[in-house]
């Protein structure tokens, strides 16, 4: 385990920073994971005005989820259900970075 993987592992096991989650691929099945959640709202310009589209970002250690999540998969964490949008690998290549929207 390199230093970056050890760092994300430390964050993901910190009970004050991470929460338990369940990743649910659209293709079926589910897997437990640890999730670092943070808000990331997006401005939604429409016509002469704009709205704020509330969004979230999740960071999940690749040690928990080996297969790359896909747009359209769902994540349950912190009492919410999220739809996964963009999926990226973090710069160190040790975690998945997911753009999320709450499913109402």
């Amino acid at each position: 385990m390199n230093a970056f993987a050890a760092g994300i592992e430390a964050l993901a096991t910190d009970p004050d920073m991470a929460v338990a989650g369940t990743l649910m691929p659209a293709a079926g099945g589910s897997s437990a994971c640890r999730v670092l959640l943070q808000r990331r709202d997006k401005d939604m310009p429409v016509g002469e005005t704009h709205a704020r589209s509330q969004g979230w970002v999740a960071v999940i250690p690749q040690a928990d989820v080996q297969t790359r999540p896909r747009r359209g998969d769902e994540l349950a964490a912190d009492g919410k259900s999220f739809l996964i949008g963009d999926v990226a690998t973090d710069s160190a290549g040790v975690a998945w970075r997911l753009d999320l929207d709450v499913i109402g």
């Binding site: 429409v46 016509g47 005005t49 704009h50 709205a51 589209s53 739809l83 949008g85 929207d101």
Partner: protein
Amino acid sequence: MSLTIRERVLAAFAAQLAANVGAPATVERNCEAPAELEAIGVERVIVIDGDQEPADEPAGMGQRQYVLAVDVEGYVRTRRPNEVGPAINALHGRVLKAAFLDRTLGGLAVDVVDAGFWVDVFRGDGASPGAGFGQTFAIGFRTSVDDPTVLA
């Protein structure tokens, strides 16, 4: 303190929309901007007080007729891009139907008419699909020449 007829008309219009637009939309008046869209499936309708002008047509003796502009904004968020057009158009249709349900607003107004519409679909920035519209209504009402709190 007596409410002006303008205020009573605006309150009645917002209440008529709130009672008839239907779930899951929420209707608010002059809420803070920008509108918050908390989740996929959320629908929001915002009623914004507008300008008013004396009407062109003459009112009766001792009366003054006004035309009040009310802007109604509507917003939706959907799960998939192909759902956003039908969702925003459905919400717009429900707003129109609710606005025209009682064109007198319980006897306060002369008429409620469509005075303009725009719609815009939001795409990009990784956000779930969304759209918004702006619908202007013109509401005619009459007051006493001498007292804006007295219906004429």
